[in-house]
Amino acid sequence: MKVLRRLRQDWVLYAMLSLPLLYFFIFHIIPLYGMKLAFQDYRILGDHVWVGWKHFKTLFSSPAFTSVLQNTIIISLMKIIFVFPIPIMLSLLINEVRSSKYRKYVQSVVYLPHFLSWVVIAGIWISLLNPADGGVNLIANFFQLPSIDYMTSKEHIRWVLVFSEIWRSAGWDSIIYLAAIMKISPGLYEAAKIDGATRLQQMRFITLPHLYSTVVTVFILNLGFFMNAGFDQVFNFMNDSVISVVDILDTYVYRIGIGNGQFAYATAASLFKGVIGIVLILGTHFISKRFSGKGVW
């Protein structure tokens, strides 16, 4: 009865929630049924052939698997370490901008790259990093530094992925933190001001602690996508010179699974990725819950 009363009372909110729930059900829950393909040889007609761990064995014994897994972990770790904090910092900085006109302008500019596809972004970055006449190398040359072919350099390409990811997503990802900051009671800042707190102290002792639970939640949820090192991005930035350092699980699965029609094999690799994602989410959730009392739920 209590549930019904709450449903009737907040029906607008529940109606709004129903669409995302439907989306997750259709695109994330129903496809779980297809996981079985990882253990079968798929037949369009007739019975699928149950092959157990065959595709997993092939995957783990493939000579490329170790390097592909290693690349996936390294690129994902780099993104978690270097990309994840940027939207938090950006939201703090945007929050400190006092002119609302300027703040809106900054927000619009930093949100924009999010709406560009990786194909376009790759084109922009390839031009920008061109060793002959790309902006980055022209600036380096101005300071008497040599040109670097970042796109074909095994030492630099992963950093190109990190920085292009920051460029594309930092602005958009900062929205959630900005929303959390907006929820903080202005009274807290006023009280701090009366007590003589500087802007930096207000940020450190009021804003950041209030952001903590949002940061933890976003971090744990992001870990679920840890093994998705960014297919679209890597696919568009990869070239023959740097395959060995940027070929990730997703690009490998795309080539072998989709390109060569080995769908069961591709499903096995995706399932492997999914299992790692779940382990990371649950592991981080319980660790965080134990030490800070905060988690995803």
Binding site: I29, I30, L32, Y33, G34, M35, K36, F39, Y42, R43, I44, L45, G46, D47, H48, W50, T58, S62, P63, A64, I126, N130, P131, A132, D149, M151, T152, N239, D240, S241, V242, I243, S244, D247, Y252, R255, I256, I258, G259, N260, G261, Q262, F263, Y265, W297
Partner: protein
């Protein structure tokens, strides 16, 4: 919250458990033996579902083409056929087609652009050999490479001229070079080098070109010019002791990469070719940054020619350069294991015979008129008993089905189907035709083959750009063998006859 979490976990577990139970798809309905359908003009029409890249119901030209084809089949052959175009989602055709087929929707006629082998392995594609043997026109228009490919893989049919990539250069720049004559008369690797060097030094286009040659992302396109000259004329090279070795780990390959490295070091090869895509490659050519690019023989080279003349005037028309001459000459051996793309008939179709009759009709003089020339008064006019193709034909029309080298038209053509460079490139492709000795990579080697290819791509690029010294070539060969090369070489030696 706990209850909700529990509920969700139980629901997910239920899904997983049900996912792990055995399942079967019911076989396709309506399988009939060849020859049992009645493709006559009476009664209800036979509906043929066809899935084809870019030919959906949203494309008015496609719709008109298939409607016209329906009428022509009825008038000329008494076939009462209705085509139903299957629309695919936007995106990669091969991927979307695979999803369609794996979802159990199997049209009668399927155009493949890769990914067909797995479908054929499941017995879903019809062996076309008996149909071709009984055909009236198809067997007459098949090119030698089609015949060899069909003998080895009888599921895909794609009667098109050989279309390797041929090098092209602007005529005004070509004529301004002193080394041009020597190159045309004797296109050795040295004469190519001299021509490239002169182009970059003299810069015939007011400070352009910046470099002589560019390519889209890798050396595959450049290989069309030089591979055969370096003795890389087949995928598997026969050594003096009678055994085979993979061409990419041979000494010939090392020599070729040494030459490419020289071109790169001297600025004759685009320093950014690795990050170029097909569009940026063409852009560099049209803007004059690159003097020479390769284009697919035939219509594509004609399109390059048209665009270049639009930008640079009549003098900028294109000249097709011959393949380099050395140990041999050619654009490389043609893969005859199977068609890389083409049309197939579903083995589950109840109308296989009718589908093939459509194929055969399109190979007939009347079918060819429609497929290759387009619609009368729209793409061509018949003037004084001769066919005059118009601008719309050249800019819009392409044959959806067969394109034998010679067109059997009932009415003579006044204007040629292709422009001068397009025709010349096809002639060269035909003149230098040789068959490759490669084979379809068996399923058990596919994952290793991918790793080996990536190894080659990375090493070869590093050798060319100088990041690795060519003295390390043996190190690459060792790594390639360790990645599965030794195993596949053994397989090759056991299977190549």
């Amino acid at each position: 919250m706990k209850k909700l979490s529990l509920l969700l976990i139980v629901a997910m577990l239920a899904m997983v458990m049900s996912a792990c139970t055995s399942n079967s798809n019911s076989p396709g309905a309506g399988q009939t033996e060849p020859g049992t359908t009645q493709p006559d003009g009476s009664g209800d029409p036979v509906t043929l579902k066809i899935v084809y890249k870019d030919e959906g119901t949203a494309n008015p030209v496609s719709v008109k083409f298939f409607e016209t084809l329906e009428k022509s089949l009825a008038e000329d052959e008494g076939l009462n056929v209705k085509f139903e175009l299957v629309d695919l989602a936007q995106g990669s055709y091969a991927e979307n087609l695979n999803l369609l087929l794996l979802g159990g929707t199997i049209p009668d006629i399927i155009y493949f652009q890769g990914g067909d082998q797995q479908i054929a392995d499941q017995g879903l594609l019809e062996d076309l050999t008996p149909y071709i043997e009984k055909s009236t026109y198809i067997k007459e228009i098949m090119e030698p490479h089609n015949q060899t490919r069909m003998a080895s893989y009888p599921y895909l049919l794609w009667i098109k001229p050989l279309a390797p990539k041929a090098p092209v250069v602007r005529a005004d720049w070509f004529n301004a070079m002193e080394s041009s004559k020597a190159l045309m008369e004797n296109p050795t690797v040295d004469n190519y080098y001299a021509f490239f060097k002169e182009l970059v030094e003299k810069k015939p286009g007011e400070g352009k070109p910046s470099y002589a040659l560019t390519a889209a992302g890798d050396i595959a396109e450049i290989n069309f010019i030089f591979n055969t000259a370096f003795g890389l004329d087949t995928t598997w090279l026969k050594k003096d002791d009678g055994t085979y070795e993979y061409s990419k780990v041979s000494q010939n390959e090392k020599e070729k990469l040494t030459f490419y490295n020289k071109l790169y070091k001297e600025g004759l090869l685009d320093p950014q070719f690795i990050t170029k895509q097909w569009d940026t490659k063409e852009d560099a050519f049209y803007k004059g940054e690159a003097a020479v690019i390769t284009g697919t023989a035939g219509k594509i080279i004609d399109l390059y020619d048209g665009r270049m003349q639009e930008l640079g005037g009549d003098d900028a028309s294109l000249i097709v350069l011959p393949p380099a001459k050395g140990e041999a000459q050619g654009f490389g051996a043609t893969d005859v294991t199977k068609e890389a793309r083409g049309l197939a008939i579903s083995s589950q179709s109840p109308h296989k015979d009718v589908a093939f009759k459509v194929f055969d009709y399109l190979a007939s003089p009347k079918g060819q008129m429609l497929d290759r020339l387009g619609f009368e008064d729209e793409h061509y006019k018949v003037v004084d008993g001769e066919i005059e193709l118009n601008e719309k034909y050249y800019s819009e029309w392409y044959a959806r089905f067969w394109e034998p080298t010679e067109i059997q038209s009932e009415t003579p053509l006044k204007t040629p189907l292709l422009g001068e460079p397009g025709t010349e490139s096809l002639k060269m492709a035909s003149d230098y035709y040789t068959e490759d000795n490669n084979f379809i990579i068996p399923e058990q080697f596919i994952a290793n083959w991918d790793a080996m290819n990536n190894l080659y791509k990375e090493y070869s690029t590093d050798f060319i750009t100088g990041k690795k010294d060519l003295s390390q070539f043996d190190q690459f060969v060792e790594a390639w063998n360790a990645a599965g090369g030794a195993e596949i070489t053994k397989y090759a030696n056991e299977n190549i006859k």
